[in-house]
C-alpha cells in the first residue's frame, strides 16, 4: 500500500513512488504537484499566498507561490528528478465568498492571485502545467497518486474529477 501524506497549509512534501499526497479542504489555497514519471518522484505544496512581497524571512517555503515552486524543484532534484522531465498539476484557488462591489483586488480574490502567481512561476522555470482544476467558488480536496500520476479532485455536491 502506498503511504499517504497529508500536506498541511504552507507545507511541502516530496516523496518517492508509491505514495499518495493529499491536501484537504482547499479554499483559496492551491494544491500544486510537480512530478517526474521516470524518476518516480512527486512533491506537493499547499500554497496559501501568491508572493512573499514583504521580503521577510521565509519559515515555510510552501506558503508562497514564489518560494514554493523553486523549493519543490530543488527537493525533487535532490530525490533524483531531472528538471527537464518535470510536469505540474494543480487544483484550488477558489473564491469562497463574494460581496457585491468588494471583489476585485480585495483579499476575497486571493485564490485568483494564487493561480496567476503559480502559473507564472511554473512558466519561469519551464515546467509544463499539464492539468488543472482551479477557480470557481467551491472548496476542493485533492489526492495525487504516483501509481498513475493522476490528481483526484473532490468537490462537495459534484462528481469526482480526475486530472
Amino acid at each position: 500500500m502506498a503511504e499517504v501524506y497529508h500536506v498541511g497549509m504552507g507545507e511541502i512534501v516530496v516523496a518517492k513512488h508509491p505514495v499518495i499526497l493529499t491536501s484537504l479542504g482547499l479554499g483559496s489555497c492551491l494544491g500544486l504537484v510537480i512530478y517526474d514519471e521516470i524518476a518516480k518522484v512527486a512533491g506537493m505544496s499547499h500554497i496559501m499566498l501568491p508572493e512573499n512581497h514583504e521580503g521577510r524571512e521565509v519559515k515555510k517555503f510552501g506558503k508562497y507561490a514564489d518560494t514554493a515552486v523553486p523549493k519543490l524543484i530543488e527537493e525533487l532534484i535532490a530525490l533524483g528528478a531531472l528538471k527537464s522531465r518535470l510536469k505540474a498539476k494543480m487544483a484550488g484557488g477558489a473564491q469562497m465568498f463574494s460581496i457585491p462591489g468588494k471583489n476585485s483586488g480585495s483579499f476575497l480574490a486571493i485564490g485568483e492571485r494564487n493561480i496567476e502567481a503559480t502559473k507564472k512561476m511554473l512558466s519561469n522555470f519551464g515546467i509544463p502545467l499539464v492539468a488543472y482544476d482551479v477557480g470557481g467558488n467551491k472548496g476542493r480536496s485533492v489526492e495525487f497518486y504516483t501509481d498513475n500520476w493522476i490528481m483526484v479532485v473532490k468537490v462537495i455536491g459534484s462528481e469526482v474529477k480526475k486530472i
Binding site: 484537504l24 479554499g27 515555510k60 506558503k63
Partner: protein
C-alpha cells in the same frame, strides 16, 4: 503598535478582546433569542493567537460540511466576521425559522428560501454582535452585505489563514459558541470576530488599554 507586532499581544490585551467578544456575543444571543422565541446560551468566549497553519483543523476535520455566513465591517476599525454551523444545524434552523415565519410550506419552497433565511439570521447575529462593540467603543462599524456558503470547513478557514498570513504567521481568533437550547438537539453555531491586523491597535486604544 504596528500590525506585525500581532505576535507580541499580551495576555492582558487578549483578555480585553475576550471581554469585547463577551459583550458582542451577549447582544447577538439576545437578538437570536428574540427572533426565535427560544433560549440561547453562549460559551465562555476565547481570544487567542493561533498559528495560521493550524487554523483549518482547529475545530473539526477540514472536510466537514458546514454553512457559513460572512460579513465584513469597514470603518475606523475593519475586520471580518463569520457565523459557522455544521450542515445539520443549519437545516434544523431553517425548519424552525420557516415554521415560525412561513407556516406550512413545501420542501421545494423551503429549499428556495433556506439560504435567504439563514443569511438574514446570520446578518442579525453578526450585526448585533458588532452593534454592541460599536456602542461600547463609540465608533461606527459599517458592514458589507453578508454572504453565505455551504462548503468544507477547511476551505472557509483557508481564507482567514491566508488573510493573516499576509502579515505574519499568527492569526488572532476571538470566538464563542451560541447555542439555541429549546430544541431536542441544541443548535450550536460558532461566531468568530477577526479584526484586521492593522485595526488591532486602534481597537485596543479605543478600549482604553493602549
Amino acid at each position: 503598535m504596528e500590525y506585525n507586532e500581532l505576535e507580541g499581544l499580551s495576555s492582558f490585551h487578549l483578555d480585553v478582546i475576550r471581554e469585547t467578544v463577551n459583550i458582542g456575543a451577549g447582544n447577538a444571543a439576545t437578538a437570536l433569542s428574540q427572533l426565535l422565541g427560544s433560549a440561547v446560551t453562549m460559551d465562555v468566549p476565547k481570544a487567542e493567537l493561533v498559528s495560521i497553519y493550524n487554523i483549518s483543523d482547529r475545530y473539526a476535520s477540514p472536510t466537514e460540511l458546514v454553512c457559513a455566513v460572512y460579513l465584513r465591517f469597514e470603518g475606523e476599525i475593519s475586520g471580518n466576521m463569520l457565523w459557522i454551523m455544521n450542515e445539520e444545524v443549519s437545516s434544523q434552523l431553517v425548519k424552525v425559522l420557516a415554521k415560525k415565519n412561513l407556516g406550512n410550506i413545501s420542501v421545494e419552497q423551503l429549499n428556495e428560501v433556506a439560504d435567504s433565511l439563514l443569511l438574514e439570521v446570520g446578518n442579525i447575529v453578526l450585526s448585533s454582535f458588532l452593534n454592541a462593540i460599536s456602542s461600547m467603543i463609540n465608533c461606527s462599524l459599517p458592514v458589507t452585505v453578508p454572504a453565505i456558503v455551504h462548503d468544507m470547513l477547511g476551505a472557509i478557514l483557508d481564507l482567514l489563514a491566508a488573510y493573516y498570513g499576509m502579515v505574519g504567521d499568527v492569526a488572532i481568533v476571538s470566538e464563542t459558541n451560541l447555542r439555541i437550547t429549546d430544541y431536542e438537539t441544541p443548535m450550536n453555531g460558532h461566531v468568530m470576530l477577526l479584526p484586521d491586523p492593522q485595526s488591532l491597535s486602534i481597537l485596543l486604544s479605543k478600549l482604553g488599554v493602549l
